[in-house]
C-alpha cells in the first residue's frame, strides 16, 4: 500500500512511545482518582496516539478553529486517555490532569466540550458519535470546508440501536469526510462481548450497511496510520476501521479481563502496571 511508505521506522517508534506515555498517564490519572476506565484507555491508546500526534489537522492554540479536523470519542469512558492526549498536545497544562474529577476542575468524568479545551463533543452515554459525526460531516459539505470527522467507538457500544441508525443514515448521505474507528477489544463491563451480546459477523454488518471496511491490528501504529490515510482518501462512502485490540493492552494482568473495565488499580497493582509499561517503553 502506497500509504505505508510515508512513515519511517523512527516515526513509528516515536508514536509507540507516545502511546505508551498515554497509557501510563491514563493509568496514573485513574489510580490517583480511584475512578475511571483503565481497560478501554489501554486498548485505544495507539489509535488515539496516531490521531492526535500525527493524523488530526488541529491547532491546540485555536481549539475552536473552524477548519480543524473533528474527533468524537464516542466511547467517552476512555476520557483519561483523551485528556492525556489533549494535555500532551498542549490544549491545557499537564498539571490539570492531577485534578481530574475535582469539583472545580474542568476535566469531568466523561468528556465535556464546554469545559475542556480541545474536546469537540461531549460524550459518555454511548452510541451518539456516528450520528453526530454525520451532522458535522454534512455541515462541512454544505459549508465547503475540508475538515475530516473521526469517530472512535467501542465494540460493546455497537450493541446499541442508535449506532446503527447513524450507520444507516450514513449509507444514505455518504459522508466521504467521516471515518469511524471501532476499538474492537471484545470486552465490556459484564464480560466478553462475544458472550454478553455477540456482534459477529461484525465487519459484514457494516458492509451490509454499505460502508467500506478496513480491518487492522489496532496496536500496530503503522497499520493505524495507513488505514486512517486510506480511509480519508476514500471519498465515495463512509469508512469504518475495525481495529482489533486487547482490552487492558500493555498490562499483563489487565489484558482481556472484564474486571478492569471500570475498576481502578490499588497501589500495588498500579506500581506493577507502571513497571510493565516502563519496561515496554525501552
Amino acid at each position: 500500500m502506497s500509504f505505508m511508505k510515508k512513515y519511517s521506522d523512527a516515526d513509528i517508534q516515536q508514536l509507540n512511545k507516545v502511546a505508551n506515555g498515554l497509557r501510563r498517564q491514563s493509568l496514573t490519572m485513574i489510580y490517583r482518582r480511584q475512578a475511571g476506565h483503565p481497560g478501554g484507555c489501554l486498548s485505544a491508546a495507539d489509535i488515539v496516539a496516531a490521531l492526535y500526534f500525527n493524523i488530526l489537522r488541529i491547532d491546540p492554540q485555536r481549539p475552536s478553529w473552524e477548519d480543524r479536523d473533528r474527533f468524537i470519542l464516542s466511547k467517552g469512558h476512555a476520557s483519561a486517555l483523551l485528556y492525556s492526549a489533549l494535555a500532551g498536545r498542549g490544549y491545557f497544562p499537564q498539571a490539570d490532569l492531577e485534578h481530574w474529577g475535582e469539583l472545580d476542575c474542568h476535566l469531568q468524568g466523561h468528556p465535556d466540550r464546554l469545559k475542556t479545551p480541545g474536546v469537540d463533543m461531549t460524550s459518555g452515554i454511548l452510541g451518539h458519535g456516528i450520528a453526530i459525526g454525520l451532522g458535522l460531516a454534512l455541515a462541512a459539505r454544505l459549508q465547503k470546508r475540508d475538515y475530516h470527522t473521526y469517530v472512535l467507538l467501542g465494540d460493546g457500544e455497537c450493541q446499541g440501536g442508535i449506532v446503527w441508525e447513524g450507520v444507516n443514515a450514513c449509507a444514505k448521505f455518504n459522508p466521504g469526510n467521516l471515518t469511524a474507528i471501532v476499538d474492537y477489544n471484545d470486552v465490556q463491563l459484564d464480560g466478553a462481548v462475544h458472550e454478553i451480546m455477540p456482534m459477529e459477523p461484525f465487519a459484514d454488518k457494516w458492509r451490509a450497511f454499505r460502508w467500506d471496511v478496513i480491518a487492522i491490528d489496532g496496536h500496530d501504529i503503522r497499520a493505524i496510520l495507513s488505514s486512517l490515510e486510506e480511509a480519508k482518501s476514500m471519498r465515495q462512502r463512509p469508512v469504518v476501521i475495525i481495529a482489533r485490540t486487547v482490552k487492558g493492552k500493555g498490562v499483563s494482568f489487565m489484558e482481556n479481563r472484564a474486571q478492569w473495565h471500570g475498576i481502578p488499580p490499588d497501589k500495588e497493582q498500579y506500581e506493577a502496571a507502571m513497571a510493565e509499561l516502563s519496561r515496554e517503553n525501552k
Binding site: 473552524e66 473533528r70 465535556d112 466540550r113 464546554l114 469537540d120 463533543m121 461531549t122 459518555g124 452515554i125 451518539h128 450520528a131 453526530i132 459525526g133 454525520l134 451532522g135 458535522l136 460531516a137 454534512l138 455541515a139 462541512a140 454544505l142 459549508q143 470546508r145 440501536g161 442508535i162 441508525e165 447513524g166 444507516n168 443514515a169 448521505f173
Partner: protein, 314 residues
C-alpha cells in the same frame, strides 16, 4: 396567519426564514409532509435532511450541524421527539448545550386520529425539567410563525411545541413577542387564567363566559414555559388573588406546575389546574372533543375559576 393551522404557519415561516438565514438547516424524521417542513425542503433541498423514522438519529445529526455553526431545526412528532429521542436531547442537546431547535409538531392531543400513542401530554414536563432547555408553546398560527426567527436567532436549545391544526386565534399581526415574556391577553381583577397553546383561545372564551356572570377574568398567556415570566405571574396573583392554569397537557409537571412553583414561593394564592388529570386520553373525531372530554373544555376553565374565587373569599 393566526387562523392558519399551526403546522402550516410554522412550515411556511421556516421556509421564508430559510431565505434570510443561510445557516438554517431543517431535518425531519419522515414527517415532513405532516410537520410541513416540506415547504422548507422544496425551497432549500440542499439544506433539508430526512432521516426516516429515526428520531434519535435525527437529533444527534442536528447536534452535529449545530457543532459546525449551523442552526438546525429538527422536526418530528412531539410524542417521539420528547420521548424516543429524549436521551439525545438531554445529553447531546442540553448538557452539551448545542444550538438545536426541536420543532415538535402534533403536540397535546392534536393528533386526534391516531390516539394516545401519538398524543404528547408529558412533553412540557419532561422538556422543562432539562437544564439549558427553553420551552416555547405558541398559542396560534400567528405566534407559531412569528417565533421562528426569534428561536433561530436565540442562542441555545429550544423546544418549540406545535399543534397540528388551527387553534382559536388570539394573536394580532405585528404585536410584540419575545422569548420569556408573557402576554396579558385580557385585563381583569377577579381571577387570573394563565394559559398556553391551544388553551389561550379557550381561556378567552371562558373569560367571556365569566364576564356574563359579572366576573372579570384576567387572561395571561405564557408561551415561554421556561424561563417563565415570574414577574407577570406574581403581579397577576397579587392583583387578582387567585389563579387558574390551562394547558393541553397533563397537569403533572406542565404549565400548571411551573406556575405553582412560582406562586408557592412568591405569592401563594388559591390555584386550580385545568389540563389532563393523570390519565391517557382517547382517540376522537377532532382535538376539540377530546379536549372537552378530558377536562380541558371552556366550562372546565370557568368552573375552575369559580372554585378559586370561592377559595379566595373563604
Amino acid at each position: 396567519m393566526a387562523n392558519l393551522a399551526m403546522r402550516e404557519a410554522y412550515g411556511r415561516a421556516l421556509a421564508d426564514y430559510g431565505a434570510v438565514n443561510p445557516r438554517v438547516v431543517a431535518l425531519d424524521a419522515d414527517t415532513a409532509s405532516s410537520t410541513l417542513s416540506v415547504f422548507f425542503e422544496k425551497r432549500f433541498p440542499d439544506r433539508f435532511f430526512n432521516f426516516g423514522i429515526a428520531e434519535p438519529c435525527m437529533i444527534d445529526a442536528a447536534v452535529g450541524f449545530a457543532l459546525a455553526g449551523m442552526v438546525p431545526f429538527a422536526n418530528a412528532f412531539a410524542a417521539l421527539a420528547a420521548l424516543r429521542a429524549l436521551e439525545q436531547v438531554r445529553t447531546c442537546v442540553c448538557y452539551a448545550r448545542t444550538n438545536v431547535k426541536i420543532a415538535s409538531s402534533y403536540a397535546g392531543v392534536s393528533d386526534f386520529k391516531d390516539g394516545p400513542t401519538h398524543h404528547a401530554i408529558t412533553d412540557i414536563a419532561v422538556m422543562r425539567s432539562l437544564p439549558e432547555m427553553t420551552v416555547i408553546v405558541p398559542a396560534d398560527g400567528g405566534e407559531a410563525a412569528a417565533f421562528v426567527s426569534l428561536i433561530a436567532e436565540f442562542d441555545g436549545p429550544v423546544y418549540f411545541r406545535l399543534n397540528r391544526a388551527a387553534t382559536l386565534p388570539v394573536s394580532r399581526p405585528g404585536e410584540p413577542l419575545s422569548i420569556g415574556r408573557g402576554i396579558m391577553r385580557r385585563q381583569g381583577g377577579d381571577v387570573t387564567v394563565v394559559a398556553c397553546g391551544s388553551m389561550v383561545g379557550r381561556s378567552m372564551q371562558a373569560a367571556d363566559s365569566l364576564a356574563s356572570q359579572g366576573i372579570q377574568a384576567r387572561v395571561v398567556e405564557i408561551h415561554t414555559i421556561k424561563p417563565i415570566d415570574r414577574e407577570l405571574l406574581l403581579q397577576a396573583a397579587a392583583e387578582t388573588g387567585c389563579v387558574v392554569t390551562a394547558e393541553e397537557h397533563t397537569v403533572i409537571g406542565g404549565l400548571g406546575s411551573a406556575v405553582a412553583e412560582v406562586l408557592a414561593a412568591g405569592r401563594p394564592v388559591p390555584l386550580a389546574m385545568v389540563g389532563i388529570h393523570d390519565t391517557f386520553a382517547r382517540t376522537g373525531p377532532d382535538p376539540e372533543s377530546i379536549m372537552d372530554a378530558f377536562g380541558m373544555g371552556v366550562s372546565d376553565i370557568v368552573n375552575a375559576a369559580l372554585s378559586v374565587i370561592n377559595k379566595k373569599k373563604a
